[in-house]
Amino acid sequence: MPRPGFVLDVDRSTPPMLFWRGENFSLEKLPADRTRVIYPPEPLPGIDDVDGAIRNALLNPLDMDPLPALLTPGMKLTICFDDASLSLPKMRRPDTRQRIIEAVLELAAEAGVDDVHLIAALGLHRRMHDYELRHVLGDRIFDAFHPRGLLYQHDAEDYDNLSVIGETDEGEVVEISKRVAESDLVVYANINQVAMDGGWKSITTGVASYRCLSYHHNPATLQNTRSLMDRHHSALHHSLWRMGEVLREHGPKIFTVETTLNTDTFPSPFDFLAKREWEWTAKDRATFLATQKSLDRVPVKMRRKIMHSIESPYRMTGVHAGFTPTVHEKTLENVYAQHLVDVEGQTDILTMGIPYICPYNPEGIMNPILVMCMGLGYLFNMYRGKPLVREGGVIIMTHPTYRDFHSVHHPSYIDFFEEVLPDTTDPAVMSEKWEAKYAEDEWYRHLYRTGNAYHGVHPFYAWYWGAHGQQHAGRVIIVGGDAPTVRRLGFTPASTMNDALEIAADVVGRSASITHLHVPSVLVADVK
């Protein structure tokens, strides 16, 4: 029986805590008697018969007819699926999306459906490489659909193939892929790794246009998103749900299949990362030391290659299909069952280790903007109720924050770092002054549409993702980062954790309370 998450009060006998430091990790001794550590729940058991569970969900959907009843000969069927930003790290093959889509295709074949398109719901993310598509969909689907041009990736800039569905009460225009809009049935194959994913968000961001996304991916909306992991208090999700209503009334019939994963993230020999430090065996300690020292001694490129080659042994904990909002409520129950940890009260200082990966750098480099996005956007938002850190408190992150960018995946990030950040780090100001220039840049548009680059506007969105955290925190300190780069982000560099706590004392006093968010794995703090 997996143990639930819990909050540990640090005393003198507590061992040093594990912190991510990009592609490596460190152990940090946290002050006794004023620090608490939030440990995530252990991974829930997975479903043994995954294919059977998926088939059962398709045949017994929620608030919709069974899938076979919706499939008729001569119809237009479109299957959309999440891109490589899920799961993180990538899961071992076979991927859940492959399983769902194969189950759907088998029913479609039995029903005599010929007109089937598969669309990777990228939004403004980079196009996936062929090997990534193969990983997500499996060789069978890739080899059957890709050569015929029936498997392709959404293009949010292809206005000839985008279609306006309608407008919300608040004037938000819903514009999505024409193929999706004109389909008789759309099946969405989803992976819900965190509570932010899924629901109407899948389709209203995955196959939407830049114009459509800009209604909710903006500083005002994201500063009022409290939090990303709590859709009922998220301005972003409110906007998405309004758009979903428009889709429901005027758009195609959508049959959503949502799945949830447990948090069994690291295979052997990295499985010690998910263990509680005082439970590390001699083998775990030896593995930690060997891994840490080895990673320290290899070039950063090799370090990245090693870490990105990790494939997670995730297990599926639930699958539901049918009407999108109903399905999503069930999905959220499953996600919260895995992630929620009850926490009493806020803290003055929140510490967190930033890993080597975030949703915007699969197979790529965690550049400085993504460090900000991961820390203030994702990890800060891992709460329900109130943020873990009080308003005006200090956030301490550990990451090398090297000034390094993936020139193929993140071309506009480079210019954003060199041009926009020296001018301003205020999301509202950069939105007004710079966003349009990047969003409409022909070269970025070309790279997004034909290469493997994120959309030109994407660094802005990554920055806005952390807007709420940036606004909320009194100071952000990065331990172990490249000092000029950290300063460019508007943060304070520190060499060691003790230095960082000294710097934090200027803001929150010397006896400030400290909370450490223990990742991995993922958790959502339910702050009372």
Binding site: D51, L105, A111, D114, D143
Partner: protein
């Protein structure tokens, strides 16, 4: 004196001639007891248990020393020969991933198509490691176990179990069922033997029967290309490429007879065959309408059947035979 010597020489010559004639005379000219006795009419002689054929005891081949030796043979000569001669592409392991992930993966019955002696070595290499360790192979008793040396080699190198092809032998099926119950996975060729003409044959019910009897899932497998590399009747192998496609494990439904289950296994392998030569979606669409090209080939006979076989092989892995490296001549 001279007469005496002459007579002596004549006697010796006569003896020698007699000895040569006796040596040259075929054994068949001698009767009982030099030959087996003839059986009087109306008398039935009980069959003698020879220890060969289906009665060959393979227990020794599953003992630790033999298993270790087999591990060396599998990882050495079989691996090398498979790589050099058949260059396989193995797909569909993901369909077995859920079972492979279990702490104690269940025994499986692999039911591949059969076109060549290379199929067994190929299967041993292609089956995921978790099942490879405890794998037994059902082999024709009349072919692999008719001589002691052949039986010993088959049992040692392939962990082969003799099985009657012509008669449904209870001993064979009981032994196989016991081995499966003991955790051994099994490779059994439902066609009963190698293809006669390059096309497949109808499936016999052995795999379905054993699955129903033991509860072990059947994994349909399609092997493409080995028939063109070393099919029945070929004098020497022609190296080429092969493809092994694993299907989803299948179990008989509650009220499904062995015959119907066998037909379902055959359909699954047929669909895999179509998938190997076309693609997943085309094969699924045709499976839904029952239009997958049959493994047994077209119904007509003669040259048109051979012609169709050539066309089919062009679609498959065997059509992509490795070309000889012929560099352009250096003309100075």
């Amino acid at each position: 004196m001279a007469k005496k010597s002459l007579r002596r020489a004549q006697q010796l010559a006569g003896s020698a001639e007699q000895a040569v004639r006796a040596a040259a005379t075929p054994l068949r000219n001698f009767g009982f007891p030099y030959r087996a006795p003839t059986v009087p009419r109306g008398v039935e002689v009980p069959a003698e248990i020879t220890g060969l054929g289906a009665h060959y005891d393979t227990g020794w081949a599953r003992r630790p020393v033999a298993s270790f030796a087999r591990g060396l043979i599998t990882e050495g000569p079989i691996r090398l020969a498979t790589r050099l001669l058949t260059n396989p592409e193995i797909v569909g392991h993901d369909r077995l991933a859920d079972l492979a992930r279990l702490d104690d993966p269940p025994a499986l019955i692999f039911a591949p198509t059969h076109h060549s002696h290379f199929d067994t070595g190929l299967m041993i290499r292609a089956i995921p490691v978790v099942w490879r360790r405890d794998l037994v192979v059902a082999a024709a008793a009349d072919y692999f176990f008719d001589k002691k040396w052949k039986a010993a080699i088959s049992a040692l190198s392939l962990n082969a179990i003799p099985i009657d092809r012509e008669v449904t032998g209870r001993a064979s099926s009981d032994l196989l069922a016991a081995l499966i119950a003991d955790g051994h996975s099994l490779v059994i060729y439902p066609e009963g033997g190698r293809s006669q003409d390059g096309w497949g044959q109808e499936f016999k019910g052995g795999a379905a029967y054993l699955s129903s009897k033991t509860g072990a899932p059947v994994v349909p497998v399609f092997i493409d290309g080995t028939g063109a590399i070393f099919g029945k009747g070929m004098k020497r192998p022609k190296p080429g490429r092969t493809k092994v496609v694993f299907g989803r494990p299948m179990l008989a439904d509650d009220d499904e007879s062995t015959r119907r289950f066998n037909a379902r296994i055959e359909r699954a392998v047929t669909t895999l065959g179509d998938e190997a030569l076309t693609d997943y979606w085309t094969a699924r669409q045709r499976a839904a309408t029952g239009d997958n090209p049959p493994l047994t080939g077209p119904e007509f006979t003669g040259w048109r059947r051979d012609w169709a076989l050539a066309d089919r092989r062009k679609l498959g892995a065997a059509g992509k035979r490795r070309r000889q490296q012929r560099p352009w001549p250096d003309l100075g």
